[in-house]
């Protein structure tokens, strides 16, 4: 089932070329785009995993650094001097802790007694009530006899990483504890972002809180708020990431958790924008798209050009064909091309020429032979040999034409003869007869060949009578012209003869031969005999075939030359004219 048919070859070619091109390019574009996206996601996922490791590493390093710094502090001479004093001087201790805070760049340094009481705190804004998490660490370190303990907790509502180390006096005797804290704040997030190129967001994950808080983020605040509310998809592996859409932008996100000291854990989201990762690839894709469009345009133009190159000559050929079909063989296609179309047009021209030739031949043939014979010749394979069939043969001959021709100049003789033959031939053809040949002033006509006809004899008789009328007409014209009248004799016989092409292989005639033909000629000769007093003599066979045996005037039997049997003959009295005056 076809829904659409192309009226034009050019549109078909155009659709094919441009369509194929577009199809290939769309496929390529989609493949590239998909591959890029898959690669980007893969790349981000790897980055996220690396980022998570870097993040953990970063925190571990900070803990190690804090612990190391705290150890140096705890063995500093002045702190021992201050610790030696009794009672302790908290103000001086605090100013000393501020020095340490400056030295190690940790904002919170606290000195604890062995039982976890705050002795001094570097940050006056950070009250003793916030020292609780340090107490937990000190208990843990004391219990497990550790050289340091670390953990994460909120201090004054802000997330910190906490480390406690003992102040030895000397090791392994613990005299007091140092607590050092670093905020996990925007600076840390930015530091991680600058090394990993990942967005970092910390959110509280407290199930008691209705809306999780954004603790710190490198994202836009509204996006971070949306991220805080995002419910994590179940993960198969700890480093599996998921796609989170924030403000309409897809972010591949890796969620991690940090356990807090005695509190709900904190959720960390490491993210990278898919669009940002894809940006260079998108640029490439856009270039590919541009090139594709350009190629498509070129392909379209090329297709149009090619299609025009094919369809225009085809149009010409079609046009030409119409003319040829209408019988105009004079036109020629002129395509200046070497290709198949050029060959086709050349062949077409040859064909036209051939057709013109054939037509000419046919025309000429019609003139040389009768149209029926011409048709028979053109239809058949022009083979020598013939077939036996019943025909009626009519012979006519002008009386005294030799004498006449001697009196007149030859051109006039020919003109007169042609005039006579033309009239007679017309009458013969009108009655379905075929002029087989002219023999000088004689006419040999066939009825029932080449086209078989049952009433050939009747037709021949009718023709003979009409010929008489025609001769009368001609004689009247001649009389008017002051010329002598013409007279003829006609012999008609109906017999089985052989009809067909006779002659050599290169030149042949359609004719009939046989005794019957000779008889017709003999009968015509008999009309010269004054005794018969008739211009038309037919054989009994013809009279019978025409159904006129009883109406025609019987002339008795004759034995003609070359024939052993007697033949009954009849006279057809044509009204035309008296029977010949001259012999």
């Amino acid at each position: 089932m076809r829904f659409f048919r192309f009226r034009h070859f050019s549109s078909k070619l155009l659709l094919l070329l441009a369509g194929l091109m577009a199809l290939v390019q769309v496929a390529v574009y989609l493949l590239i785009s998909r591959a890029n996206e898959a690669a980007a996601i893969d790349h981000i996922a790897q980055n996220l995993q690396t980022g998570a490791l870097i993040f953990r590493q970063n925190l571990a390093e900070r803990i190690a650094y804090l612990a190391g710094s705290a150890k140096v502090m705890s063995s500093d001479y002045p702190i021992r001097q201050l610790m030696m004093q009794d009672p302790l001087d908290p103000r001086t201790l605090r100013s000393a802790l501020q020095t340490y805070s400056d030295r190690v760049r940790a904002p919170v340094i606290t000195l604890f007694s062995l039982d976890g009481r705050v002795l001094a705190l570097s940050d006056p804004e950070l009250g003793e009530e916030n020292a609780g998490p340090f107490g937990d660490l000190i208990k843990q370190a004391t219990r497990d006899d550790m050289e340091q303990a670390s953990g994460y907790s909120y201090l004054a509502g802000k997330l910190h990483v906490l480390v406690v180390v003992p102040l030895y006096a000397p090791a392994p005797n613990v005299a007091a504890w140092f607590g050092v804290a670093y905020p996990i704040d925007n600076k840390l997030a930015q530091a991680i972002k600058s090394t990993t190129r990942l967005e970092v967001t910390f959110t509280s994950d407290d199930p008691e809180e209705k809306t999780p808080r954004v603790l710190t983020t490198t994202l836009d605040p509204s996006m971070a708020a949306a991220l805080a509310l995002h419910k994590m998809a179940p993960k198969q592996g700890p480093l599996d990431s998921e796609m989170v859409t924030l403000n309409g932008e897809p972010y591949l996100t890796l969620f991690q958790e940090i356990e807090l000291l005695g509190e709900a854990p904190v959720r960390i989201a490491l993210q990278r924008s898919l669009n940002a990762e894809l940006a260079p690839a998108r640029e490439l894709e856009n270039k590919v798209l541009l090139i594709s469009l350009a190629a498509l345009a070129v392909a379209t133009i090329a297709a149009l050009w090619i299609a025009r190159g094919v369809s225009q000559p085809l149009h010409q050929l079609a046009d030409h064909t119409k003319h040829v079909a209408a019988g105009d063989y004079t036109r020629r296609i002129n395509l200046d091309r070497e290709d198949e179309l050029g060959q086709l047009s050349a062949a077409f021209n040859q064909m036209t020429a051939g057709l013109a030739e054939r037509d000419k031949v046919r025309d000429l043939l019609g003139k040389v032979v009768s149209p029926e014979i011409a048709a028979q010749l053109l239809q058949s394979d022009l083979q020598l040999g013939g077939e036996e069939r019943e025909v009626t043969v009519l012979f006519s001959d002008l009386r005294d034409f030799t004498t006449l021709s001697e009196k007149l100049p030859p051109t006039e003789v020919l003109a007169l003869l042609n005039r006579y033959l033309d009239r007679m031939s017309a009458v013969v053809e009108k009655h379905g007869g075929v002029v087989d040949k002219y023999i000088g002033d004689a006419i040999m006509a066939l009825f029932g060949a080449p086209v078989a006809a049952a009433d050939s004899a009747a037709r021949a008789l009718a023709a003979a009578r009409a010929m008489g009328d025609a001769l009368d007409d001609l004689n009247r014209e001649l009389a008017a012209e002051g010329k002598a009248p013409l007279a003829f004799g006609i012999g008609i016989n109906t017999a089985r003869v052989v009809a067909g092409n006779m002659g050599s292989k290169t030149r042949l005639n359609y004719t009939v031969i046989g005794d019957g033909v000779n008889l017709a000629a003999r009968l015509e000769a008999l009309t010269k005999s004054p005794g018969y007093e008739t211009a038309v003599i037919v054989s009994e066979a013809t009279a019978r075939a025409a159904g006129e045996v009883d109406t025609l005037r019987p002339l008795g039997g004759v034995t003609v030359k070359g024939k052993s049997e007697r033949v009954n003959i009849y006279a057809v009295d044509i009204k035309s004219r008296p029977w010949p005056v001259r012999g």
Partner: protein, 215 residues
């Protein structure tokens, strides 16, 4: 003992008998900004420096207040005593590791006063053992003729006419500028000094509790 005193008196009277001349210095850095705390000292070339008595005046002190030394730069003639009163709320532990004077004043409480005699000329850098940001300089000079530039970079020294070795010192100056000058009693001598100072590398005392480790 009597003879020594007499000699000292003579030495003292000798130069002062001559008419005093004023040396005025204007100190700038190479950007044209006035330089404060630059010390200009004139060491007499025609008299033995050890014969010069310290000028009689108010006692010199470097106080500790609000966890800072009260004067960043202090100039004294060699042999002078400097008092270190603790007017703070916390204890301090003053120390010096300088060649000209190595000493420490171990942790002492607010309200106490300690003192140290500086008898060797040179630069003495003072620190505090528990407060890294506390820093002060004592320039000990072998002459009573010295001055410290003020906020406008001006320093003026009055000294008897004569030949002097002029020295200009500043904590951030790589090498002390030295030249010879002659003061006549007619008019004061004005000199402009342009010093190329090293960048200020003092430890800034962080705002309390606002430190964060992430640089």
């Amino acid at each position: 003992m009597k003879t020594f005193r007499l000699l000292m008196l003579l030495a003292c009277v000798g130069p002062t008998a001559a008419r005093a001349a004023e040396f005025i210095a204007a100190v700038k850095d190479n950007k044209g900004a006035a330089v404060a705390d630059a010390v200009v000292s004139l060491v007499p070339l025609d008299a033995a420096t050890n014969s010069l008595l310290p000028p009689v005046g108010p006692r010199t002190e470097i106080a500790q207040e609000n966890q800072e030394y009260s004067a960043y730069v202090t100039v004294v003639q060699a042999g002078s005593k400097i008092y270190f009163p603790n007017r703070d709320t916390v204890q301090h532990h003053v120390y010096s590791l300088s060649k000209a004077k190595k000493f420490e004043l171990p942790l002492y409480n607010p309200g106490s006063v300690e003192s140290i005699v500086f008898d060797v000329p040179g630069v003495v850098t003072l620190g505090c053992n528990i407060h890294d940001w506390m820093l002060a300089y004592v320039l000990v000079v072998p002459t009573p003729y010295y001055a410290k530039s003020d906020g406008a970079g001006a320093a003026s020294v009055t000294a008897p006419a004569g030949r002097y070795r002029l020295e200009v010192w500043h904590p951030r100056l790589a090498t002390t500028a030295v030249e010879e000058i002659t003061l006549s009693d007619a008019a004061g001598l004005h000199r402009d000094f342009t010093l190329t100072l090293k960048p200020d590398r003092r430890i800034r005392r962080g705002p309390e509790g606002k430190n964060s480790g992430y640089r």
